[in-house]
Structures are given as C-alpha cells and as structure tokens.
C-alpha cells in the first residue's frame, strides 16, 4: 500500500492537527480522523508500525466510532482527552513502540475518562506483558539482527547508518549524564582489558568488562542512541559467550574489545558534540564492520590463538597481585629487575616517599583481600566543576577580606585580649577552609597514568619491542587544572622512551640487558612540589651526538666546555633531534621543546639525566597547585612584587667588597665565589626606589633555568602563599600575574624567565 510509506510520526502529527480543528458537532472531521487512524490499524498498518501503536489506534478507532454513534459524549473535553491520547501515541512512536508502563497508564486513564474502557495489559509494551499478538520483547530488533547471517547483519547496520538522525535530544540532562558516565565506563573497560591480557582467565576482570558494556547498552537503548546501543549489545553478547565458556578469551577477542571501546568513545564524543553544537554535527558511525567481526568471533568458538603476552605490566601502589612473585618491596624504586621466570610477569611497585593520599605499605606476597589495604572506597558525589571553582574563588576572597579586616588600623589598635583570640581563631578557620577548598581541586594522577598503559602497549606492539611499564605513586594528587595540560608532555616523553630509549630485544640481548625493557612512571611530592619521573633502562642519550648536533646548529661553540648534564639538557631546545630517521612517533625534532614549553607553562621545570648505555631519567617538577604560589613579597619604591620562593636561593645585604661594576654600569655581585649579574628592579620596572646603591639595599639571588641573577630590592616584606590571578587580558613579559595583598592592593608576581631574558641585551 502506498500509504504505508508515510512515516509514522508524520501520520500521528496529522492526527493531532485534525483533532485540534474539531468542534463539537462537526462530525465530518471525525470522519477524516477515522480515515487516518485506519492506516494504523492491525492489518492495515505498515510492517514497521509497532504493535502497541496499532493497538492504541484500534482503541482510538473504537472511541471515534462510539462518538459518531452518539454512545460517547461529543464534547470538547472528550476531544481534548483524545488529543492527549494522540500525544501519548506520539511518545510511543518516539520510543519505538516501547512506551513503558507510565505512558500506557496515561493512555488508558484518558480513554477511561472519555468512557472507553481499555485494560492496560492488552497494550503490549508494559513490563511482563504477554499479549496474544506477537510481542516485541525489549531486544527483538537486536536479536533479529544478530540471529541473521553476517551479511544481512551488515546490510541492516548500514541501513541504520543512513536513517535520519535519531531524536535523542529530548532529555538533554539525561544525555549529558550518560555521556560522562559512558566515558568513565569506557576508561575502566580499557584498563581492565589491558589487565586481562596479563591473566586471560580471570573471571573477575571479565565480569568487570562485561558489566559496563551492559550498562552502556541499557542506557543508550533508553535514550534511543541506536548505533551505540547495537554495538554495545553485540560486544556484550560476545563477552557473555566468554563468560559462559562458549568462547575462549584470546587476543582476537581482546583486540576487538579494545577497538570497539575506541569506536564507542568516538561515538560518545560525537553525541557530546551534537549536544553542544547542534544536530548539524551529527555523524552516524558505520558499525557494520564490527558487527561482522563480532559474529565471526562468536561463531568460531574455541581454538583461536592464545593470548600473546605483550608484556606491559602495570602496577601502582597498592599492588593488585595476580600471579604473586617475590613481591617484596623494591628498595628505593631501583630498576633492578626482579628476575621473572614467566613471560608474563608483574612486579610490586611501592609508592615512593611522601605519596599524599593512600599510604603504600610493604604488603608481601599472596592475593590481597578484596579491599587491598589503602584503596579508599569512600562515598563520593559528583559536583559541577563550575560550582567548585566558584567556591574556591569565594573562599579566596574570604581569606583576603579577613586579612583586610585584621589589618584595619582602627581594628589593630583595639587591645582586647578576647578580640585577639577571636581573630586568631578566625584566621585558623579561614585557613582550614582554604586548604579544604584547594584540596577539592586535586585529583589523583591515576587517570592520566592509566592512559599511558594503553599507549605503551600500542607503541611496543607497533615497534616490536618488549616493554614493561611500572607505575608508582598513581594516587598522588594533582590540581585538576593541570591534568589536561600534563597529558601531552607525558605522552611525548613516553614515546621517546619507547621509540628512542628502548632498543629492540635482539639489540638489548647483545648488550647483556634483559630482552624486555622497563619504563618507570613515578609521581610523588617532594619539598612542596609535585614530581613526575619517567625512567627507562634503554640506550640513554648519546651525549657526543648531541654535542655534535649542537655545534652544527650553532647552539654552542667548539671550544665551549659544557658538562654532560648540560649537554644532555640541550635536547629541550627547539628543532633538536638526533634521530636518524623520522618515525611517525617521534624523531621530527619537535618533541622535547614542546614538552619543555608545556611544563613551563604550568610553572614547572623539566630536566633529563642520562647515562649512555644505561638509560635516561626525565624529571618534571610541578607546583602542587596552579592557583597558589609561595613567594617572598619585596618592596621596590612604593610598589610591591612577589618573587616565587622556588626560584630563590638566598638573599644578602651586599658588602662593597663583593660588588663590582663593568664600565661603571651593570654590576655583579660575588656570591659564594661566583659572579652573579645584578638586576635593578627599579630600573626594570620604571619605579623610583629608596636605594640605588646595592650595598644599601637588599639583593635576592634567584635561579631560573640554570641562570643566576641578583635582584635588587628595597626591602623584604615577608613570605606568603598568595593566590595568583591573571591580569585580565594584559600579558607582560616578566610578570606572571597579580595577587591581592593583605591591604587590598594588587601586587605583581614576577616571572623570572621574563625578567632575566629581558635583561640580556
């Protein structure tokens, strides 16, 4: 029938329109209505019309007929109720014929109000409905496709891909929630799959992978995200087969689960894009390829290739030991290989020194209990990041205001013991509040580290090298604003280690090294900073080659005498790469200087220590939080500046015998036997200062990127932790930002790299 071509939604729209136009007594329109409804009746309806719609239509027709016959009141209210029913039918159509109990109940209630009794059970779609008519169980559509031959499945999926974009934008809140959770699930799937590679038979892990797929399938189905739903469902079935022993877990399955995970990630990202930028960005993904592979795997059954142990073992504190080896605490994280006697091995890594969060312990041997020691499973809630930032800002302002009040001249003159006590208490509480607020911004670096697991696995597979990744201190917390920015530099350095550092197994054997290279990824806090180390036991940097390259590039002279350490750190200069050929991973000479810039943007430092033949250690030092900086407040004239404590080596009151000038200008200070150039801050910043002679003033010796300078200031005012604020659009070399000082005025925070750079002219 030609009319079957008309999409269901259009039809229902027409019905809705018609109902709006009805006036009591105008039966002609009712007749037209009847005609439209006819098309939805069982027997006349198009094949894809959901059964429940057909049944609703039948009820509808019943009402209309009774209206015409006069058995039911021909009233405005009834027509309105009918209108409601149409809305319910439209809803049902949107939900693809699975309206759920609520809609059914409403429909029947409305019908009842009109006077047409309709039992909800007869309407298919309610949970547990067993109608005589062919039922559409939840997964009917899915099962149909999977049951079919691979070909048909592929075509079906392809057709699906060409459908008009689904209207899942109805409930954006739910959708947003789903997107966040889906990403989390997919991350956990990836981590678990990689663990699974080490122990393919561990049923717990398999369940841990199965469950998130099941959840994704469920919620995406409810939200009408068809493609995601189908893919998740297919994968869930595959995993179920593995669970039930119908299929062995092997590398083929692992690979496909990983690739499906990637595909789902990009699909969810697509949906997120649509949510943010509009339906125009919608792109459906062709999952036919996946479905074909999955079906093939399911039909293969056993006898596929065993798991290839691509030895990427990952541990962090506390260790989850699957095959217990000699799991004693490693002394000081030295890379002494605990000799493995199995190809797939796992080593216990102990968190280093002062790991902030959970305490690492020397848990030797055996399978740990379900809650392995320090893993804190406290309750947590999700909070909007904006709210959190607003809170942190408000607390910051509170601290300032509190300090302002305290320093108010009139207030400070009140010599009341109780007042003083109360103020101390107030200060204590405010500091506590600030500390707590700041700590809310911290997240464990684990999420970033986990991404490295996959990276190393893929890299080593690609390059044919064997690499062990040992992670320590993943619980160390890092400011959430830094998490994104630290990811790229870490990736670069990992790639370098695997690509340049670690040699192919044959080479390593030649040098008497174990065939499997090791890469350590460590995080810990030290001295008020956050440290991240990437250490490998590979070739190390070729200092001679670096020296040659540097001379070629004109960066140093032939006769320049640089230490090995200095030579090695030249690799951070732009365009520097001693790789012989460019792989698509690195070797293009852009890696290390990008890393350096990124780290410095976070107010951190990066350096490398290396020994040719033994390996390299990249050390990144970052501030604990980007928001607060610890600095010394200095006065120059009537202006106040803050010098970051991390850069300060010492401050002195210069003695004339140590002070020397060159041609009556500039000025150097002898500090501990070394000549350090003096920078006069009043000159630099164009302010008038109290002193112009360094020997009357104070000099602060700072170090930045290996350069030392002596900054001349009038007075040291104190040491404080100040909240950094940017200058609202102004970007000046030498100034990192501003802060609000105790008296409400703005103090400028110095950016030493800029201060020193500007001076070398």
């Amino acid at each position: 029938m030609a009319v079957a071509d008309k999409p269901l939604s259009d039809l229902l729209d027409e019905v809705a329109l018609k109902i709006l136009m009805i006036e009591p007594g105008d039966l002609s329109i009712v007749g037209e209505l009847l005609e439209l409804i006819e098309r939805l009746l069982p027997g006349c309806a198009a094949a894809e019309t959901p059964v429940v719609i057909q049944q609703m239509a039948a009820a509808f027709k019943g009402v209309l007929e009774k209206l015409i016959m006069g058995e039911l009141a021909d009233s405005a209210e009834n027509y309105e109720l009918l209108g409601q029913c149409v809305i319910e039918m439209q809803e049902t159509a949107r939900k693809e014929g699975r309206p759920g109990a609520e809609i059914i109940a409403r429909f029947c209630a409305n019908m009842k109000k009109i006077g047409f009794f309709l039992a909800p059970e007869t309407l298919v779609g309610t949970a547990g409905a067993t109608a005589a008519k062919p039922v559409y169980p939840e997964d009917a559509a899915m099962i149909e496709e999977e049951g079919a031959a691979a070909q048909a499945q592929a075509t079906a999926a392809r057709e699906l891909a060409q459908e008009t974009p689904p209207d899942f934008l109805q409930d954006t809140d739910l959708l947003a929630g789903f997107i966040e959770e889906a990403f989390e699930h997919l991350e956990s799937i990836e981590v678990n799959v990689l663990e699974l590679e080490q122990s393919p038979d561990d049923m717990d892990i398999i369940n841990n992978i199965f469950r998130p797929f099941h959840t994704i399938k469920g919620v995406s189905g409810f939200l009408n995200l068809k493609t995601i739903n189908r893919l998740a469902h297919a994968t869930e079935n595959l995993l179920d087969d593995v669970r039930n022993g119908k299929r062995a877990m092997d590398s083929a399955v692992i690979d496909i689960v990983l690739t499906v995970g990637d595909a789902l990630k990009s699909m969810v990202a697509d949906i997120k894009d649509v949510l943010q930028n509009g339906l125009a960005n919608y792109q459906d993904t062709d999952i036919s390829g996946f479905l074909v592979s999955i079906t093939r795997l399911q039909n293969e059954g056993d006898g596929a290739a065993p798991v290839e142990a691509v030895s990427v073992s990952v541990l962090d504190s506390p260790p989850e030991i699957f095959e217990s080896e000699e799991a004693e605490p490693l002394p000081d994280e030295t890379a002494e290989a605990v000799a493995p006697d199995k190809p797939v091995h796992v080593r216990a890594g102990q968190g280093a020194a002062s790991s902030s969060a959970s305490q690492p312990q020397a848990t030797p041997a055996a399978r740990p209990a379900a809650d392995s020691g320090a893993k804190k499973f406290g309750a947590s809630i999700k909070v909007d990041v904006e709210k959190l930032d607003a809170l942190v800002n408000a607390v910051g302002e509170l601290v300032i205001m509190q300090s302002l009040v305290r320093q108010n001249k009139l207030v400070s003159r009140i010599a009341d013991a109780k007042l003083t006590k109360d103020f101390s208490q107030l200060t204590r509480i405010t500091s506590e509040l600030q500390r707590t607020a700041m700590s809310m911004r911290m997240v464990p670096i684990k999420q970033t580290f986990d991404k490295m697991i996959r990276l190393v696995r893929d890299l080593s597979k690609k390059s044919g090298k064997k690499v062990d990744l040992i992670m320590e201190g993943a619980d160390t917390e890092i400011d959430r604003n830094m998490v994104e920015s630290i990811y790229d530099p870490l990736v670069h350095m990992m790639r370098n280690s695997v690509d340049h550092g670690i040699s192919p197994p044959a080479e390593r054997a030649k040098f008497g090294k174990p065939e499997t290279g090791t890469v350590f990824l460590r995080a810990y806090q030290k001295g008020g900073s956050m440290m991240i180390e990437i250490e490998d036991d590979g070739e190390g940097l070729n200092t001679q080659k670096i020296r040659k390259k540097a001379i070629e590039r004109g960066l140093i002279g032939e006769s320049d005498n640089l230490s090995d350490f200095e030579l090695n750190n030249l690799v951070f200069l732009p365009g520097f790469s001693t790789a012989d050929k460019i792989t698509d991973v690195s070797g293009r000479g852009v890696g290390m200087d990008v890393v350096k810039k990124a780290v410095e943007k976070l107010r951190g430092k990066v350096e490398v220590q290396s020994q040719s033949g033994k390996g390299s250690l990249f050390l990144i030092r970052l501030p604990l939080t980007l928001a607060i900086i610890d600095g010394i407040i200095v006065r120059v004239g009537s202006e106040r500046y803050i010098i970051p404590t991390i850069a300060i080596q010492e401050s002195v009151h210069p003695e004339p015998k140590n002070y020397s000038t060159v041609h009556g200008r500039g000025g150097n200070l002898m500090v501990r036997g070394e000549l350090v150039p003096i920078i006069r801050l009043y000159e630099k910043f164009g302010v008038s200062s109290t002193y112009t002679d360094p020997c009357e003033a104070i000099v602060v010796v700072v170090e930045n990127e290996g350069r030392r300078r002596a900054l001349m200031v009038d007075e040291l005012l104190g040491k404080e932790e100040v909240v950094i604020k940017n200058l609202g659009g102004i970007d000046v070399p030498g100034v990192a930002g501003g802060t609000i000082l105790g008296d409400g005025r703005v103090g400028l925070i110095l950016d030493l790299a800029g201060v020193i750079a500007n001076n070398t002219d």
Binding site: G728, G729, I730, V732, V735, G738, T739, G747
Partner: protein
C-alpha cells in the same frame, strides 16, 4: 547619492539607538552603550604594570578580581589630567580572545544615562586616521550637546590586542 546616504544614515541610526552612559573627557562629551557597562567606581589605587603602553595605567583590585585599567585621555592622545574627586572608572565588559574580559576606563566625570533615538544620531566624521574613526560609532545631538558615541570593543579591545601583538 544624497538619498542613498540618507537612507544609510537612518539604517545605521536605528541600530545605534538605545541607552548610553555619557561621560566627559575635558570639554567633550562621550557615550558608551549601557549594555557593556558593568559598573562605575571612584578612582582608586592603581598598581602600575611595567612594559605596557602609557594609556594602560595598570591593574586594580575589583572585589578580588584583578582587572586592567586604561586612561581614555591618554588613549585618545589628549593631555593628561590629574585625578580628582570627580574622576571615575567605568568598568566595561568586552569580548576578549577566548572569553569576555572586564576592563576599566578612567574618565573625567560621569554624567547620566541617556536614551538616544535614531533620529539624533549622525554618522561619524572622517577624521583622516582610520583607526580613530573606527572607534566612533556615531555622533549624537542631545539637548543641544554633542556626544561622541564610542565603540567600546574597539577602544578597549583594540588597546589590549595591539599590546599583545606588539
């Protein structure tokens, strides 16, 4: 020609009609669209920032937020005037590179908010230098006085942007 420019006139005029906050710099009266104005504060202590053009006076603490402040007189190459009790800072919000930014403008004194209709607005005069004419949206004749209507985004945004590029 006449008719065309007249038509263009009224066309532009209707766009520009609306409420303006008027203020003065010396003998001249100016106006900025009220929608960009966030607040008006008395002039307060400004912390100078080195290596910035002379019209960027520095930064101030606006309830915990650090915002830059420009001196409009200096921006327009007028004579500097000492700040007195009538001097105000008009805080406007303009579109920065990635997000809106708030910037303060020091003016001699602030007058009132005027509702300016399309008929009262004329196109800006051609002063020769293109950058200067770009700052001006139009000239308004209100109550016998002339107010120069400024394009705040150009005046403030351009000031900062130029600096960033230099």
């Amino acid at each position: 020609m006449e008719a065309a420019s007249a038509a263009q006139n009224t066309g532009q005029g209707t766009e520009l009609a609306g409420k303006y906050l008027t203020f003065s710099l010396g003998n001249e009266g100016y106006g900025v669209g009220i929608l960009s104005v966030r607040e008006i504060i008395g002039v307060m202590e400004i912390t100078a920032v080195p290596h910035t053009p002379n019209y960027i006076k520095g930064v101030i603490n606006l309830r915990g937020k650090v915002i830059p402040v420009l001196d409009l007189r200096l921006k327009f190459n007028m004579e500097h005037k000492d700040y007195d009790e009538r001097t105000c800072v008009i805080v406007v919000e303009v579109q920065g590179q990635t997000s809106p930014v708030q910037v303060g403008m020091v003016v001699d004194s602030v007058s009132e908010v005027l509702n300016i209709s399309a008929g009262e607005i004329e196109p800006p005069p051609s002063l020769g230098s293109s950058s200067e004419t770009e700052n001006i949206l139009g000239m308004a004749k209100v109550k016998g006085e002339v107010k120069i209507l400024l394009d705040v985004n150009r005046v403030v945004g351009e000031g900062l942007l130029q600096h960033l590029l230099s």
